[in-house]
Symmetry: C2
Subunit: 205 residues, 2 copies
DNA sequence: AAATAAATTGAACGATTATTCAATTTATTT
DNA sequence: AAATAAATTGAATAATCGTTCAATTTATTT
């Protein structure tokens, strides 16, 4: 008896507010009081649901990292053979649509916490490994399908994400839209080269 | 007349203390008071030399970024032809000796500030472009020397630093020393491939 | 020794921080 | 309607924050 729990929905609401705040003012300036004010609740309520700020930061990290996995979500109507799926994922990764995911100040702030916080470090390591593992499996599927020749799929997947992370590290500093697009295309081409593929623009020639 | 200025030396002393503190406790927990305590001076003195905390953070950013340029410092006794110099620089970049530069929590924290601070953003953009430009010149020198065949030196330099940044982004999360070394070597090999070179381990076969 | 200017201190400021605890409100059950 | 349990509030806590300003100490010049 008693009231039914609002825990899950309230927690998510708080995490989202915390994220919005961190994105706007920086994680280092995102406080519990400001977060509460943003959704018109009492600061005590935040503590009620997360006990400490540390736990809220953990939840924020998970919230952010989960979003990265969306690059593997392919609408069922777009699903084709393995190679098409792989190319769709690469399009996701190197599209302007997704850059808002990668060039995210909050993510870099959370990442910087990994150097002093083992829990967050593990979360990041897990995500990065999962991203690589998923891509590797896509590559393997292509090999089995016979539409791709890659010697070492795990290595190729690893290198591609190294390129992705390094690419957005630089691109986040590029303000000129034309330069941004040009560079993004160059980096994508490099990623495709890892799979012995050429970009569609290149293929047309 | 009056006392001679201690400005330069004192400022550097404060910046170093601020850096040490930020490295130990995180930039978000590095305060002026703690910095002052670390070198036994009054917090007011920090303000005296930097006016605001913001200016101290700017100075910290410059302090950090300047260190990255050290990868181009080649002891004169080690200087050889252009190709040897290039290889020395690449050894610098991909050596365990230098990883302490790249996997640096403070640097990622400062980097995350670029999303909301134009001044810091420019500093980072300038450094990243300088790093690329310096490498490009080294490559060009090799071309002129005839010891290297690279179609687009600027592109190659860009891709190499994309690899470097992405590499250390992942490597910073790797605790296992053997895996760290193995991955580092793989990434270096990729960088060398951009220059149509093979790693020495590869070449021996 | 007097003058000068920079270095340095120390006290105080208001603001904000994360967290506590008890009290109260609200929704759901018996 | 009474019982129950979770949701929510509000006040208070001690600590720390960046910054200010006036007073003092220290070193160098005339």
């Amino acid at each position: 008896m008693g009231r039914k729990s609002l825990k899950d929905s309230r927690q998510k609401e708080i995490i989202k507010a915390f994220y919005r705040l961190a994105k706007k003012e920086g994680l280092e300036n995102a406080s519990l009081a400001k977060t509460a004010a943003l959704i018109n609740i009492n600061p005590s309520l935040v503590i009620h649901y997360f006990q400490t700020k540390e736990h809220l930061v953990y939840a924020l990290t998970e919230y952010i990292l989960d979003k990265y996995l969306l690059i593997y979500k392919i609408p069922s109507r777009n699903k084709g053979n393995a190679q098409k799926n792989l190319l769709t994922v690469l399009d996701n990764i190197f599209s302007n649509k997704w850059n808002t995911l990668f060039d995210d100040s909050v993510s870099y702030s959370c990442y910087s916490l990994t150097f002093r916080n083992e829990t967050i470090k593990e979360k990041y390591k897990n995500l990065l490994d999962t991203l690589r593992s998923n891509l590797r499996e896509l590559i393997v599927a292509c090999k089995e399908e016979g539409t791709l020749t890659v010697k070492d799929p795990a290595l190729a997947a690893d290198i591609i994400f190294v390129l992705v992370d390094g690419a957005y590290y630089y691109l986040s500093l590029v303000t000129d839209k034309k330069e941004y697009s040009k560079k993004l295309l160059q980096y994508k081409k490099q990623a495709l080269a890892q799979l012995n593929l050429v970009s569609s623009a290149q293929a047309k020639k």
